[in-house]
């Protein structure tokens, strides 16, 4: 309750700072690298990281840890290939990037579509998470919990804009990390701080293979790692850095914050199995563990932390989707000369619409594990955006048609494989080992065949890789 109070307080305080659309979307680029590292980590530590991993490890043991490794590993790829060039390029969104790099408005449409799709897939598990958490904490009916959270979150975004979200992200990053730390330490203390003894109680869960066979494990890790580097709502946050160098430092900071967090999550999962046996839930393992080792107080903190995590993530996603709808779509196709005031109004309206939609989906997808659902979003991002970004930044020979092929093939192949898997037509749960190489290949082949490289490619390469002295 206190966190919700603080959150609302920050939102109201920040409202004064919304004076232009730019500030609404990228906070005037004034946030420091350290703050951004915490904020990005906070954004990233959504329901899946906080609740889902512990839940999966509780449920399936070792195989659940893939999610931690995968979620974390993506940041390394992001750092090595995309962080600095993205910031130096300076566009607001992925759609902006493809449109400006290749001088193509049709790429903008396709990328906007991809962004919306990924954001929706990512939002669903957050709403499911919020329903589960609030019903455990407050005893509310699941549906009520989803509706109330949705309304609160959407209102928050409409009032506060990205700066409020940034500060909220920083606060809740610290809260989540600390909550996890305290829970894990308390759990370990019951075993005399011997993690080995705790694992001895649950040995059968420490073997790989309870959930995923070899092919699916491999595909999952690949999808999670590459997907991180294609997530629109994470990439957008890079534009709040002052320079390419700062963007790199932000990523490094996030790696340390997240890494330590993901080392702890599986411990919580195993501890839940040790303390509660089968009496937990795949999304509620962590709060239930907190209750056992720290009483209602700790459970309250964990649930509040989870809710704040979800708030931050959904807010980030709403902003990204709003950006896609208002900035990319509306501005470019409906009303090019919209005044800044009008743009802001459209942005807020879009935020409202998306908020309502997310509530709806949260109710429909009750019962699914949040990390699993998030993994699907990741595989779409890995297939749609990562290949295009990677090759767009590093290969001169890429053409507009190649980009189009990459976006479309990545999007279509990943979605169709997910759909056919959910319908039971094949066993591959994560399409990435097929859709990602397919996207890369299509970019390469189509670009080579087409040959029409953008005329300003030299300037582009200079700008993103060499740039001005910072």
């Amino acid at each position: 309750m206190l966190i919700i109070g603080i959150t609302i307080g920050i939102a109201i305080f920040s409202k004064r700072f919304i004076t232009s659309t730019a500030e609404f979307f990228v906070a005037g680029r004034k946030i420091s690298a350290v703050q951004n590292a915490f904020a990005m980590s906070g954004d990233y530590m959504s329901a899946a990281s906080f609740l889902g991993i512990a839940g999966l490890v509780w449920l399936y043991g070792y195989d659940g840890i893939w999610y931690a490794a995968g979620f974390f590993g993506g940041w390394v790829i992001l750092l090595l290939f995309l962080a600095s060039p993205i910031r130096r390029f300076g566009a607001y969104t992925v759609a902006d990037f493809v449109a400006e790099r290749f001088k193509s408005e049709r790429l903008r449409i396709v990328a906007t579509l991809g962004t919306l799709l990924i954001s929706v897939f990512y939002m669903v598990p957050q709403m499911v998470g919020t329903g589960d958490v609030l019903s455990v904490l407050l005893g509310w009916d699941y549906t009520m919990a989803v509706i109330i959270s949705g309304v609160l979150i959407t209102g928050y975004v409409m009032v506060g804009g990205i700066r409020a979200t940034t500060y909220n992200s920083i606060v809740q990053c610290v809260v989540l990390w600390t909550a996890m730390f305290v829970t894990v330490i308390l759990a370990l203390s019951r075993y005399g701080f011997s993690y080995g003894s705790l694992l001895a109680e649950v040995t059968e869960y420490t073997y790989p293979g309870k959930w995923l066979d070899f092919t699916n494990s491999f595909a999952l890790i690949l999808g999670l790692i590459l997907g991180t580097a294609g997530l629109p709502h994470i990439l957008v946050r890079y534009y709040t850095n002052p320079s390419g160098r700062a963007a790199r430092m932000t990523t490094v900071g996030a790696l340390f914050i997240l890494g330590s967090f993901y080392i702890m999550s599986p411990i919580a999962g195993f501890a839940t199995r040790a303390f509660l046996g089968a009496n937990a839930g795949q999304n509620t393992a962590l709060p239930l563990l907190a209750e056992v080792v720290g009483g209602e107080a700790l459970m309250g903190i964990v649930c509040a932390g989870a809710f704040a995590a979800i708030l931050s993530t959904v807010a980030g996603l709403i902003l990204t989707s709003t950006g896609a709808l208002a900035h990319d779509f509306y501005m470019h196709f409906i009303n090019r000369n919209a005044s800044e005031e009008k743009q802001l109004k459209i942005a807020k309206l879009s935020a409202g619409v998306i908020g309502i939609f997310s509530i709806f989906t949260g109710i429909i997808f009750r019962g699914y594990n949040v990390a699993f659902l998030v993994g699907l979003a990741f595989s779409i991002a890995a297939s749609t955006f990562f290949p295009v970004l990677f090759m767009g930044f590093w290969w001169r020979g890429m053409t507009e048609k190649g980009a189009l092929a990459g976006l479309l093939i990545g999007m279509i192949s990943s979605i169709s494989m997910i759909a056919t898997n959910l319908l039971g037509l094949h066993a591959l749960t994560n399409p990435s080992i097929i859709s990602v190489p397919l996207a890369f290949l299509s970019i390469y082949l189509v670009s080579k065949a087409d040959g029409k490289v953008p005329s300003n490619v030299d300037e582009f390469m200079y700008k993103v890789h060499i740039g001005e002295r910072e």
């Binding site: 590993g73 790829i77 420490t206 200079y462």
Partner: protein, 82 residues
Amino acid sequence: MGNKEMDKIIKNKFRLSISLGVIFLTTVLSLPILNEYAKNFMQISFGNFSIAYIYVAIFIYLISWGLTLIYVKKTNEMEERN
């Protein structure tokens, strides 16, 4: 700055990123492969921690942090030189 010079710089940056990236991906993707094809080795235990566990829960992070720091140091050096 001439085109050739620019190309050289970009190529060096790419080479750094690719080599570190390949090391990283190989490290991570070897894990399911080892788990499948070297089961006995991966289940060798130290205390109650199997190699499989140590690999996925700790080793990957240490490697990542190391690669990360190398990357930042080298890239900053490269950019100082320009």
